[in-house]
Structure formats: C-alpha cells, structure tokens
C-alpha cells in the first residue's frame, strides 16, 4: 500500500510530465475502445440486416447453386417439392429464383441478376408487396444502389432482356414499382426483383427455385436437390471481412499505444537516472532493492490507472454521444459490397472495456519494470552519493 501511496505522490509531484504521458495513454484507451466498439457495432448491425433482408434463419440451396459463379445459375434451379410447398404457404420458406438478364437504361446495357420472390412473403424485409400485379404491367423493385447505378427511379420503365430455360432470348418492358433503402448490398447491387410467378413464366421454370430462405418455423426437409446453409456458413465471409478490418484498425491504435508506452519507458529511464540519491535513501532506510524496483514499476504502471480515469472523464460523454447519434459512414464505404448502415451504432461490451484496461495496464507495467531492473544492480553507497552508474 505504501508503494502505491508513494508512487502516486511521486507521479503527481512530477507535474506536467506525468499529465502529458497520461494524456497520450488515455487517448490510446479511448481510441482502442472507439475502434473496437465501432467494429462490434458494425458486426452486429451487418448480421442483423443480412438476416432480416437476405438469409433469414438460413437458406436451402439448389445443389448446383454457387453465388460466386454466375455461370452455374442457368442450371441451378429445381422444382419445389410438395412438402416444401406447404411450408412456403405458411411463410416458413420463401422461394427465390435467380437468373441472368440485361437491362437497358438510357440505351446502356447492364448485366444484372434477375430474382423472383413471392410478392406476399413476410419473412424478409424486402418491400415485395409493391410487386403486386396491375394489369399487364410487369412490376419490379430495386435497391438504392442499383437505382443509383442505372439512374432509375420509381415509376420508370426500362427494357429487360433475358433468356428462357432453352436459351431463347425474350424482352419486355418492366416498371420500377419501388426503390428500397437498405444496408445489404448483396440484395441490391446489380439486381432486379420480380414477382416469382412472373419470372417462372418468363423463364419457363414453373414451380422452380434457386434457393429458399428459411424462417424460424421451418421444419427441416430431406431432399437431395437442396442443401441447408446455416448462419455460420452464410455469415462466414462477413465475419472474416470484419475481423480483417479489426486487424487493420489495430495497427493504428497499436502505434498510438506504442508512442504512449515509449514515453512511459523514457520517463522511467530518466527517473532512475535522475533519482539515484532517492533510490540510495530508500535502501538506506531499509527498503530492499526489489521493493524499490516494485515502487518504480508501480509508479510507471500507475500512469495507466490515471490514464483510465482521464480517458473516462472525456471518453464516457463522447461514447454516450456516439451511442445516441451513431458514427456516420461515408457513402462510398456503403457501396463497397459489405453490409453497412449509413450510421453505425457502437457496441460497448464489458469485456471490451475490461480487456482494454488490462492491456494498457499490463503493457504500461512491463515498460515500467524494464528500466527499473537497473536499480537491482545499483550500489546503494554510490547511489546515495548520486554518482552516475
């Protein structure tokens, strides 16, 4: 306890030098928590949105379907079995048929994925109710990214060209019934959504689908044409991307933490060099060398405690503010192909805060101990005289 009291007294006594170190270290604290909470917030938001808009509680893939190989699409469709059909009726399964096509907005050709989904589905957040039939008009919905890329807006008509199951070209005009805002590029970029029955008629693939999205009331079916893909598989890419982003963000705060630790190390080396008489006095008064090493180590490590306090003073209000307003994300990042909202609400977990404190305290203690080891090799008489050793 004496060591702690002495350490804090010495630290406060050092004045500006201590506070500069503490300030830099507190910045590390705040930035580590800021980055990690932002990444955790992104992770949580991206998963929630992907589940709500795209994957539900998992998907049943037709055995040939490979989303990374568009050339498989022409063969990746199979009939929906009767037992699956009953689950489609109860909204436990939502069939999606996917085919390649082209649209010609303003005389430009753009290759797209044409997706058919039942207009009365409730499982996904897609505004499919806008796909309801209205005479001979073929209604389509597109996401905001697709609308931006093609310069299409609600009510616009655009020519669509596709091939049926035999490879014969067909073309017709479609009307954009809705442009939906969303955070999931994989249901938006280069995609046009049509009513499932319309797309089945257009392609001659009656009662067929490429994949089925499952709901919470889905009862597993055994069918060799379909393979179930759970959250672990469907969200794996997303998690990998976020992990790699976390890794690259870590470089920045590791640098900042390194600077702060270097300052503490420097302060320690300087203290031991300048305070030899004091060290000699401690030993002369009966302290063992290891007690003096401990005192100096605690003194250095205490920077991190002070930094945590200072960081909390300005960090907590900042974090509360960010939790309320969110962290704005530039539009360019939202089009990068990864689910990302326009504002990320950070998530501050207790484990994040505790692990950050532990990391900084341990790191500060280690860099304080390293120069303090020199004390153990000091000659107390020489130290008392203040002779440089």
């Amino acid at each position: 306890m004496l060591a702690f009291k002495l350490a804090f007294k010495n630290l406060i006594g050092a004045g500006l030098k201590t506070w500069l170190n503490v300030l830099v270290l507190s910045l590390s604290f705040v930035i580590i928590i800021f980055y990690n909470s932002m990444m955790d917030g992104w992770d949580q938001q991206a998963q929630t949105d992907t589940i709500a808009w795209e994957i539900g509680q998992g998907q049943l893939w037709e055995k040939d379907y490979d989303p990374y190989d568009p050339y498989t699409l022409i063969d990746a469709h199979a009939p929906i079995s009767p037992e699956m059909k009953s689950q489609v009726e109860s909204d436990a399964l939502v069939p999606v048929l996917i085919t390649q096509a082209s649209v010609y907005p303003q005389g430009r050709m753009q290759n797209i994925l044409l997706k058919g989904i039942p207009s009365d589905q409730q499982l996904l957040d897609l505004p499919t109710s806008a796909l309801g039939t209205d005479g001979d008009e073929t209604k389509a919905i597109i996401g905001k990214r697709m609308a931006e890329a093609t310069k299409l807006k609600e009510g616009d008509k655009v020519l669509l060209r596709w091939r049926d199951k035999n490879g014969t070209f067909d073309a017709r005009e479609i009307t954009i019934a809705n442009v939906f805002d969303n955070n999931v590029p994989s249901i938006d970029n280069g995609q046009v959504w049509l009513p499932l029955s319309t797309l089945q008629d257009m392609t001659g693939m009656q009662d067929e689908a490429t994949l089925l999205v499952t709901g919470s009331n889905y009862v597993p079916v055994n069918n060799e044409n379909w393979t179930f893909k759970g959250h672990e598989f469907l969200l794996a890419d997303l998690k990998t991307i976020i992990q790699s982003k976390k890794g690259s963000a870590a470089i920045m705060y590791i640098l900042l933490l390194g600077i702060a630790l270097l300052a503490i190390f420097d302060t320690q080396v300087f203290s031991i060099f300048r305070r030899q008489k004091e060290i000699g006095t401690y030993i002369a008064l009966g302290m063992t060398r290891s007690q003096v090493v401990k005192l100096f180590t605690i003194e250095g490590g205490a920077h991190s405690i002070l930094a945590a306090v200072v960081g909390a003073i300005y960090g907590i209000p900042l974090f509360i503010y960010l939790k309320n307003v969110g962290i704005p994300i530039p539009a360019a990042s939202q089009n990068a192909g990864v689910p990302m909202a326009s504002e990320i609400i950070p998530v501050y977990g207790i484990s994040l805060i505790l692990s950050t404190i532990l990391l900084v305290v341990i790191a500060a203690t280690i860099v304080s101990y390293l120069p303090a080891r020199k004390i153990a090799r000091m000659n107390p008489t020489e130290a008392l005289k203040g002779k440089i050793q």
Binding site: P70, Y71, L73, I74, Q100, Y104, Q106, G107, R108, M109, L159, R161, R163, D164, N166, G167, T168, F169, D170, A171, R172
Partner: protein, 252 residues
C-alpha cells in the same frame, strides 16, 4: 392477208402463252430462297482477312484477323492487330471453342455460359459465332413479301423457330432477289421485340459467287453504331492443311 392473219394469230397465241406461263409460275418459297442463298454463299472452305471495327462511346477500335474455315463447323482465327490482341488465336471444331492468348501462353476452352460473352467488346457474342446449324434446320422459312433495299429488289423471309433451343425465336431476312445474298437480317425476342440487326453491303462477285464484304452488327437495344466487320480479302476453296484445325496449332 393470209400471212398477216397467221402472224396475228401467232402473236396472240404467244402473248396468251406467256401470260399463262407468268400466271402459273409460282413465286419462290422461303425454303427455296434460303437454299439459293446457301448455294451462293457456301463453299468447301474459305480464307478471310478482315477488320472488325468496334464503335465505342468515346472511340472506335479496330481488330484485324485472318480466318481459315471449312464449312461452318471448323474455323481457325488469328488476330493480327492491335498489338494488344495480336497473336490471340481462336479455334472452333465440332461445337467446341478454344482461345489461346500469347500473354498467358494458355489455351482455354470457352464453354457453357462464357459463350454468351462479347467477342473483344463487340456486339457479337462467341455464341453468335458458334451457332453453325443451318437455318432450315432450326427455322421454318416463309416468303412474306418483297421490298427494295439500297435500290435492289429483295425477298422478305420470315424465319420462325421450329426447335426450342435457339437464341432468337424469330428472324427476318431481306434477300437480294437477283444475287441471293442477304442484305439485312433482324433478330427478334419471343415477345416480338427487335433485338439485333445486321446490315450487309458492298456486295462483290468473288470466284463466281456474290458475297457481302461489309457487315454491320447492331444490338438495337443499345445506343451506338454497333460493330462493323469488313472483309479485306477472301478466297474460296483453297488448300488448307489439316493441322490448322488442331489445338496444337494455337500455340504455334
């Protein structure tokens, strides 16, 4: 007087006979016209040197090549310019297509849906080059009328698919009534929407047959001037060594 009567009778008889013949000469059917086109244009083999001009939004690009072909199912093309494409070779044999690129020194087979990709950014797809089935094999031809194109009388032929696996459900062809060379071709979607148009011009007589030396392919749904294909040199029924139509020839 006697001679005059005979002459008049002869004249009347001749006129009636000609009129009778004209009334009874049935116009050519669509099938016959297509057969005549085939007879005019088909050859045992041909060697073509050509320029493909791809009209882009900002600039035009010309790709020149030399092609050796036998019938419609064997062909070998070598791209000669620009420098970026020079040395690229393409081999089509019995429904299979391989491409060799000197940059990678690799030969890849273009198959499945890769066939639907554009050839060197043009309005033509590999599939357009691959469909070597005869028109009458996949379409019913109907002679529907006549029209004048570029001052030449043309037969209008409507082709409707009789099999399911064709890219274009219907086609319309304007065939020069005298030379039996198509001057225009239109490809339609199942819905009747016009998708592509080909205009053939600069018809020349080569080795006794009429042949279009310039063709313009146009995806009519897209803005732009399409892709122009100009034959600079053509020779029919030449000696072509067999090894040309082998994969080994691609790397030579």
């Amino acid at each position: 007087m006697k001679y005059l009567t005979i002459l008049l009778l002869a004249a009347v008889l001749f006129t009636s006979a000609t009129a009778f013949e004209n009334e009874n000469s049935t116009p050519l059917s669509g099938k016959e016209i297509i057969e005549k086109v085939d007879a005019n244009m088909a050859a045992e083999n041909r060697i073509i040197e050509s320029d493909m001009i791809i009209h882009g939004k900002r600039r035009d690009r010309a790709v020149s090549s030399k092609t050796w072909s036998i019938g419609t199912d064997q062909s070998f093309s070598e791209y000669l310019s620009p420098a970026r494409e020079a040395g690229t070779k393409m081999l089509k044999v019995e429904g299979k297509l391989w491409i060799y690129t000197p940059q990678t020194d690799r030969t890849i087979q273009i198959s499945g849906h890769m066939l639907r990709q554009s050839v060197m950014g043009s309005d033509l797809s590999y599939e357009d080059m691959m469909d070597d089935r005869e028109l009458l094999e996949v379409y019913d031809a109907k002679h529907t009328g006549e029209e004048v194109i570029d001052g030449r009388k043309c037969y209008i032929i409507e082709l409707s698919a009789k099999v399911e696996d064709v890219a274009y459900h219907t086609q319309k062809m304007w065939v020069d009534a005298e030379r039996f060379v198509p001057l225009q071709q239109e490809m339609y979607a199942k819905s009747g929407q016009l998708l592509k148009r080909t205009n053939l011009s600069n018809i020349k007589k080569v080795d006794g047959r009429w042949f279009p030396m310039t063709m313009i392919y146009k995806d009519v749904l897209k803005d732009g001037k399409g892709t122009e294909y100009r034959i600079t040199k053509i020779a029919f029924n030449q000696e072509i060594p067999d090894y040309i139509f082998t994969k080994a020839a691609l790397k030579k």
